[in-house]
Subunit: 155 residues, 2 copies
């Protein structure tokens, strides 16, 4: 049998899991992801197809110290929110968030239909995540992250 | 100005470059790639949208020692060729080639229309590439690879 791993997109589970502490989960009720890379055995990066219902957010605004992150908007409208302001994205937009940029970002579905986008991020070890708008920090704790308040104390 | 890098897919150059030695380039004349990740500053991984004309190949059959590789077939038909045989892929197929599997693979457009797929691969250092059907090996030589014959001698 081939060592290549094959999956069909419709068979990949729809994941609505939210890993943030409970009081920070509200903007993500309308977020769902299919984890394509995980479905076919990828360890070094994640490739997801994400869907945001109108009003839903991709994440709290954040940046990564070591990991690159990229999105490609397939359908719908997203607004990119950074420290520099807001920018409306249309299908075909590709956005890169280089590691250690020191500038937080997220994406909000400001349209009237679901927004579907591809997201890719690597999994280099030792990654920390800094959040701009909420009292939250994350340190890599494979296969996920451990969240604390900014002073390091536990939630 | 935001540190996020934004590109629009139609503006990303179409790259028909073939990095193999000249006598091994024939199956790739009908291969074209848009390098989405590179266009928006990604260093840790590559994300390409690739198009194969009927008959064109994705690569010579190979496997990577350190890097994971994944494809997602958007439109058209591809045949996956591995040491275990051939399998026809339809749109929606996701295929993962985990690092160090020791099994070579490539994709051939066996359909009658162009095949369009997404390909993602990380860029972990120290990666070697072994080829199954041609006298070729590759060692990482950032940002590309250095090719030799299997005995290590130069082309």
């Amino acid at each position: 049998m081939s060592k290549a791993r094959i999956a069909q997109l419709p068979d990949i589970p729809i994941n609505k899991n939210i890993i943030y502490p409970p009081h920070l989960r509200e903007p993500f009720a309308g977020r769902a992801k299919q984890r394509l890379g995980d479905a076919v055995g990828m360890k070094n990066f994640g490739v997801n197809i994400a869907t945001l219902e109108p009003g839903a957010w991709s994440s709290h605004r954040h940046w990564h110290t070591r990991q690159d992150e990229m999105i490609y908007l397939i359908e719908g409208e997203l607004t990119l929110v950074t420290d520099s302001g807001r920018e409306v994205l249309k299908p075909g937009a590709v956005v890169g968030f280089p590691a250690n940029a020191g500038e937080a970002h997220n994406l909000i579905n400001t349209g009237t239909k679901p927004a579907v986008y591809l997201e890719v991020g690597d999994r280099l070890p030792g990654d920390d995540v800094y959040y701009a708008d909420v009292d939250l920090e994350a340190k890599q704790n494979p296969p996920s992250y451990r969240f604390t308040k900014k002073d390091g104390s536990a939630y």
